[in-house]
């Protein structure tokens, strides 16, 4: 049932609307995502930990929630903002309504606000910390104090919240698996694992703090560094270990946060973007093949620049803002990508990147 709710931004701007889902206060960095489809995947993407997602598409919830499309078991986002909340889903695969899912996952949603206006604020002024709360349960002052308590995104380690603390094998091991892959989990999206499994991967998922020695002891054919939430600069331990991994003579493939960690390991700088990239329509230029991929994107940090380096090359750039989207090592099988070749949601054409990883493991 809907209830009175409010969205308050750190700069004091507030929006009144209706609440759906769990009645609590949700605090986080307010970002916007321009995907039309895929709210289920987006909500369950661990990379959104610490963030509140504004969906620019105005009808959210149309296809309900099914059992197959989750990217992790839980909703990582701290809240969601929509224009129209759909309480009557229709899809042959739908098993529950979005509202029930939000309640189950203890997540709050606010609807019926001018999401386009909010998006423009975020675009023009940069992402803001904000809070969504039921007006019955919280006052504006309380909300503001929660926002202040949350502070800024910088320097926060969110991977701890979403990554595994114990290693595990993905899927049933031993059945026709040709490549052993260690996937370092910073908040991994399940579709990455599904794709690698379908390509013949026997995957061990390990916690973000796993050392290069431990990984070496697992005797893998390749190392995968996953996506994940938040600021990479707080993951200096991981960066140190990745530097060591780079001496193991194994192919390393990083996506999103994994890409940023590799970049830090190369000694590159990472910068915070004003409002990031969140959507499924971003063109990325493949500089080597001079082709364009439409990609799924979700990041607020990016590699600042790669100047005069002999050991690494920029392989991909965003055609929206020219930001660096892909880097490879000139002599070693290391490559990383900022956007999401595993899609989910979004275009699947970039899945080809996984093939290269598997070819190198074969070599």
């Amino acid at each position: 049932m809907k209830f009175g709710a409010k969205l308050l931004l750190e700069n004091g701007i507030s929006f009144e609307g209706f609440g759906f889902g769990f009645k609590k206060i949700g605090v986080g960095e307010v970002v916007f995502n321009t995907s039309i489809t895929g709210y289920q995947e987006i909500l369950t993407d661990p990379s959104y930990d610490g963030q509140i997602i504004t969906f620019t598409y105005p009808h959210i919830g149309n296809t309900g929630i099914n059992f197959e499309d989750n990217e992790s078991k839980n909703i990582a986002a701290r809240g969601m903002i929509v224009k129209n909340f759909c309480d009557f889903p229709s899809s042959h695969r739908s098993k529950m309504s979005l509202e029930d899912f939000l309640v189950e996952q203890k997540t709050i949603c606010i609807s019926d606000i001018d999401t386009r206006h909010l998006t423009k604020i975020l675009r023009d002024e940069g992402c803001k910390i904000g809070a969504i709360y039921p007006t019955q349960l919280f006052t504006d002052e309380e909300a503001l104090s929660e926002i202040n308590k949350f502070g800024s995104m910088d320097g926060k380690n969110f991977t701890e919240n979403v990554a595994v603390s114990k290693q595990y094998n993905f899927g049933d091991p031993g059945t026709n698996k040709r490549y052993k892959i260690v996937a370092v989990d910073f908040g991994i999206k399940e579709n990455i694992l599904r794709i690698m499994k379908s390509l013949g991967g026997d995957i061990v998922v390990v916690p973000p703090s796993t050392s290069a020695e431990v990984i070496k002891a697992l005797n893998p054919d390749g190392i995968f560094l996953s996506n994940g939430p938040g600021d990479p600069s707080v993951l200096q331990d991981a960066v140190k270990e990745v530097k060591k991994m780079m001496n193991l003579g194994l192919p390393i493939f990083g996506i999103c946060l994994g890409h940023q960690i590799m970049s830090l390991a190369y000694g590159l700088e990472i910068e915070k973007m004003p409002f990031g990239h969140h959507g499924a329509n971003h063109p990325v230029h493949d500089l080597k093949n001079n082709t364009v991929f439409i990609t799924s994107q979700n990041h607020n940090f990016a590699v600042a620049k790669v100047a005069d380096r002999d050991d690494i090359n920029v392989t991909h750039k965003s055609l929206f803002d020219g930001s660096i989207q892909g880097i490879e090592h000139t002599s070693k099988p290391f490559y990383s990508i900022q956007c999401h070749p595993e899609a989910s949601p979004g275009p699947k054409e970039f899945e080809v990147l996984f093939k290269r990883f598997f070819e190198d493991m074969n070599a």
Binding site: F32, E68, K83, R123, P283, V292, I294, P345
Partner: protein
């Protein structure tokens, strides 16, 4: 890689006349293509027979040929212009088919013309159902179980395999012409036989029926580096079984998860690659089993289409322009996205933050004999689109954009109709299915019952249910009880003031006043292709009841141009042409131009035509909100046909300045009594007329006037229910079956001017001086709706002195009426006397045609006059005299409507027009006929059967025909009229006179041409089967004697002597 430098001249093929299935969306795409290629330095040669288009304006291409779009004409033009390439993908099915024909005949190869955009193989793969099916199989994509038939024998074999119901589609026909769903064996046989006849390749695809499956379309663009993007997804609210052109559709798709959406996206790209569309836009259609999600590919179009026009308007991504540039070698990343001012490249996928609804517009009332159920053959004549921040808002805005009297989801089920009738309406859809669904909810039907009857996805059903629930609450409420928040909540769901007024049983104005008191107004948001991720300065706007406004108002002097809304018979592309010309003129004068229109097929709704575009319903509520926001200098109502004129009263009431001719002058012209007294100062007679308020009065009036008379209910447009009456019997029938007279619904009875010559005169008046735009002579005599009549410019049988006198009189009329801008007059000449039929102080249907004839845009000149320029200042005091003949010929939808009589009368039935140009009348007429898709035979048997009044012309006509080599076949009565002329006549039975009769002869291919004129209901009825079988057997026929003489003139000139000249040379 930049554009190709090896190409210099590119030939663009237009789509010809507006017909069902191929409307002005191809003017929009072709215009974009021409502009884009010229901006890139190419020389563009354009061929299109349709003079009402923007693309055939001389400024749009380097060489414009208004000539028939057939391979014979194109070959001549290719010989002359020697293009390096031909772009076949902008002219709809017509463009593709004719280009394919040129390729197959080796003409392209012979003249080294390269096909760009789509090559022969790709067109073949996509259009040939058998090849397409094989391609899909190789891709591992499912298609419906199906088979191909080249004969009835084949068809029966396939029937045994897939059973009934099944879907039958003839290959290579546009808009699904001839296709249909067969539920029983009789229908199966009928549709197959008809389809085999219509398909140029004598091929049918018979598919397993997917009736009730969900239907989706993906709009795809691909470049030569194999970069592919989806511009937009479209979901059909009407499930499979209704042609997508006749379906209510929504963009983007609403009921797909990302997994399913991506499956469709991937499949779409695979299809393009496999079919071989190397560059450009295409659309791929899918069906999805609502229970299992099983996906099936239905078809693809390797060209821009009606849905790509919709997708362009829905997203702000100009597909046609981009497709044209990709065809000459650019890649997507090299092109800029115009709507974000180039901040982003064209190589991205538009994302939108609103919902778009398209509703088709039908004209079944003009064809009462036809089956108005919707099937896989397209029957709609136009469409509207509306944008809102939720489905309900966009849907209800679309409803009121339709201009068919509906202001919301009103109940249409009669109280005495049972649930059986309702169920039938849900399961065999007509144009009002969603309204019946609403009625089913009102009657308490459950969601499941309704879904089982109609298979419309429950998501949409739920939306309708919510509207119905809200309506109930409103109807049980009082206006004063509605507070600001509640009012806002209703407006957010799209309820119009008028619909709320209906529900509250009060006047629309009361709701509006109250809403203004509550200060509830819409805001305006931008269409920007990126959901506000990037800043866009492009003013492509829509209204919505949201919180924050984005439409910044400048302090420049601004003018609002009101468009003409959805295409319909009687009001089509001609008015969009005028609106665009007006916008161009105002911009030239440095006035900020604001366009309002609701028709996604048009050029006027291109965001770069005007300074600001509001994609909105053209009804008082929405237009007044824009005026309130913009506070313009004035509003222009004279270019958009009846649509904006209907708002004149509202504008006056609200103190909005109407530019050009004043509302009182408009009133004088439109009010019968005022006009009669106005005209008394001039040398014009008016056909005598009476107004009858009862049946007795009607008979009395007719008695006074004497037959023949034209009758019509008062206050109707486009000649609705207008009829020519010759006998008491006809009158009796009319009064009992067609129009029921009452004091509230009086009947207008007018003496019919038999044997008169009818003229159309378009002029521009600046208040003082009047410029004669031109005088057109109707080829068919008076009594046939002017929109359905062929006409010639200059007149071909009216003397100069008479014309001179007429022009002088018309100038005086325009001045006295205080016309500022355009005025059209229809005049009949009988026995050397002028009769004024009507005067319309606004743009007429003939403006674009005439503008092409004289090489000067009358609408543009009129626009400047409206702003206060004098004709002298514009240097246009003298009439522009034509250097050659031009004939306008109408095009009819009779082949889409089975059982309809293709006879002409006072009610307009044509959907479009073509123009033929030549040195003499005969050549121009012949080309116009050819352009309309018909061909006059050179010789053979001509069947002649004419009404008594026409018999005096017969000897002359038949002598000429005989000289040309025709043999005359005639009915007994007609043959008698030829006695003593020495003409050899073969007498044949009328249908009622026993067999073998004339229809037998037609079916046996023994007749090559028909001249058949009739008078009175009985004779029309008797000869119906002649016209219908002639139509179905492609036998050329005319229903007027003047048409017969025109044919003679055309044949005397001879096709082989036709010459092709671009507009720019004359």
């Amino acid at each position: 890689m930049p554009k190709r430098e090896d190409l210099k001249t590119i030939l663009i093929v237009g789509s010809g006349p507006i017909i069902i299935g191929q409307a002005c969306e191809f003017d929009y795409s072709g215009t974009q293509a021409c502009k884009a290629l010229r901006e890139n330095g190419y020389r563009v040669v354009l061929v299109n027979s349709n003079p009402a288009t923007i693309m055939t304006d001389p400024e749009i291409a380097d060489a414009t040929y208004i000539e028939p779009v057939d391979w014979q004409s194109l070959e001549k033009i290719i010989e002359k212009e020697k293009p390096d390439a031909i772009l076949p993908t902008m002219g709809g099915q017509t463009g593709l088919n004719v280009s394919l024909e040129l390729a197959k005949r080796g003409i392209l190869e012979k003249h080294s013309v390269e096909m760009i955009g789509a090559n022969r193989e790709a067109i073949d793969n996509a259009e040939d159902r058998e090849k397409f099916d094989n391609c899909m199989k190789e891709l591992g994509l499912e298609t419906p179980r199906s088979g191909f038939a080249h004969s009835m024998e084949d068809a029966w074999k396939i029937y045994k395999d897939i059973g009934l119901p099944c879907v039958i589609r003839p290959s290579f026909t546009m808009g699904g012409t001839g296709g249909g769903i067969a539920y029983n064996l009789k229908e199966f046989e009928e549709i197959c036989m008809n389809g085999l006849k219509l398909s140029p390749t004598k091929e049918l695809l018979i598919d397993e029926s997917l009736v009730g499956w969900k239907e989706f379309e993906m709009e795809v663009v691909r470049d030569k580096n194999d970069n592919c993007i989806i511009v937009c997804s479209i979901e059909n609210v009407d499930p499979m079984g209704v042609h997508t052109g006749d379906s209510i559709t929504v963009a983007p798709a609403q009921t797909l998860t990302d997994k399913e959406y991506q499956e469709m996206r991937d499949a779409s790209f695979k299809v393009l690659r496999k079919i071989g569309v190397e560059t450009g836009g295409s659309n791929v259609q899918f069906a999805q089993d609502p229970e299992t999600g099983r996906l099936v590919v239905i078809e693809m179009n390797p060209r821009v289409s009606r849905s790509s026009a919709l997708a362009s308007k829905a997203t702000g991504f100009p597909i046609a322009k981009v497709a044209a540039l990709l065809a000459v070698g650019y890649t997507l990343d090299e092109l800029k996205n115009d709507i974000t001012d180039g901040k982003t490249p064209a190589s991205f996928e538009p994302t939108i933050d609103y919902v778009v609804t398209k509703i088709p517009r039908f004209n079944f009332e003009k064809f009462p004999e036809t089956d108005s159920r919707l099937t896989t053959q397209m029957k709609s004549v136009g469409e509207v689109m509306a944008i809102g921040r939720n489905f309900q808002e966009s849907f209800q805005k679309a409803i009121r954009s339709m201009e068919n009297g509906l202001v919301g989801l009103s109940s249409i089920l009669k109280e005495n109709e049972g649930n059986g009738a309702l169920k039938l309406e849900l399961s065999t859809p007509g144009e009002s299915r969603l309204w019946f669904i609403a009625d089913a909810f009102r009657r308490g039907w459950s969601m499941q019952e309704i879904f089982d009857s109609c298979q419309v996805d429950k998501w949409f059903l739920h939306q309708i249910r919510e509207i119905v629930n809200d309506e109930k609450i409103i109807s049980e409420s009082d206006l004063s009880a509605i507070d600001q928040t509640t009012m806002k909540s209703y407006k957010k769901k799209g309820f119009s003031d008028a619909r709320m007024a209906d529900l509250l049983n009060i006047k629309e104005q009361e709701v509006r006043n109250y809403r203004y008191e509550l200060d509830v107004h819409p805001v305006f948001k931008k269409v920007d292709s990126c959901a506000a991720e990037f800043d866009s300065t492009t003013n492509y706007l829509y209204s919505t009841y949201d919180e924050f406004n984005e439409s910044e108002v400048s302090d420049k002097k601004k003018v609002i141009v009101l468009g003409s809304g959805p295409n319909r018979i009687g009001q089509g592309i001609e008015f969009d042409y005028c609106c665009v010309q007006a916008a161009l003129a105002f911009r030239e004068e440095n006035i900020e131009t604001i366009m309002i229109n609701s028709n996604p097929e048009t050029v006027s709704t291109d965001f770069d035509v005007s300074d600001k575009l509001y994609f909105e319903p053209i009804v008082a509520e929405d237009v007044l909100e824009i005026i309130r926001h913009e506070n313009p200098y004035g509003v222009v109502v004279q270019f958009g046909g009846q649509t904006p004129l209907k708002l004149t009263d509202e504008f006056e009431k609200n103190g909005v300045k109407i530019l050009g001719t004043s509302p009182s002058a408009i009133d004088t012209a439109e009010n019968r009594e005022k006009f009669k007294s106005f005209l008394s100062d001039f040398n014009f007679l008016q056909p005598e007329n009476r107004i009858a308020q009862s049946v007795e009065e009607a008979y009395k009036s007719v008695n006074e006037l004497s037959y023949p008379v034209i009758v019509r209910p008062s206050y109707v447009l486009g000649g609705r229910a207008m009829e020519l009456i010759y006998t008491d019997n006809d009158l009796k029938n009319y009064l009992t079956k067609v129009a029921l007279i009452s004091p509230e619904n009086p009947l207008l009875i007018e003496k019919f001017l038999d044997d008169a010559v009818e003229l159309d005169i378009d002029v521009i008046c600046d208040g003082e001086k009047t410029l004669i735009g031109g005088v057109l002579q109707h080829i068919e005599e008076a009594g046939i709706h002017s929109g359905d009549s062929s006409c010639s410019f200059p007149p071909y049988s009216v003397g100069d002195t008479q014309l001179h006198t007429l022009k002088k009189e018309i100038k005086a009329v325009a001045k006295k009426l205080n016309v500022v801008g355009l005025m059209n007059a229809q005049v009949a000449i009988k026995d050397d006397k002028f009769y004024m039929i009507e005067v319309n102080p606004r743009a007429s249907r003939t403006i674009p045609f005439l503008s092409k004839c004289i090489g000067n845009s009358l609408a543009k000149i009129a626009s400047k006059v409206i702003l206060g320029k004098t004709l002298d200042e514009l240097g246009l005091s003298a009439e522009i005299m034509p250097t050659n003949y031009a004939v306008k010929a109408p095009v009819f939808p009779f082949n889409k409507f089975r059982k309809v009589d293709p006879i002409l009368g006072p009610e307009m039935k044509s959907t479009g027009e073509v123009m033929g140009r030549g040195d003499c009348f005969g050549e121009a007429y012949g080309k116009a006929v050819k352009g309309a898709g018909e061909s006059i035979p050179k010789d053979g048997n001509v069947f002649v059967s004419v009404k008594d009044n026409d018999k005096k012309y017969l000897p002359d006509l038949c002598t000429k025909l005989t000289k040309l080599g025709f043999k005359i076949v005639a009915t007994k009565g007609t043959a008698e009229a030829l006695e003593g002329t020495g003409i050899n006549v073969k007498v044949i039975n009328k249908v009622l006179e026993g067999r073998p009769h004339i229809v037998d002869a037609i079916l046996n291919n023994e007749i090559d041409m028909i001249i058949n004129t009739t008078e009175g209901r009985q004779s029309i009825k008797d000869s119906f089967s002649i016209r219908r079988s002639a139509l179905e057997h492609n036998v050329f026929f005319t229903t007027t004697v003047s048409g017969g003489f025109a044919i003679v003139e055309s044949l005397e000139k001879g096709v082989e002597n036709w010459e092709y000249k671009p507009l720019q040379l004359s």
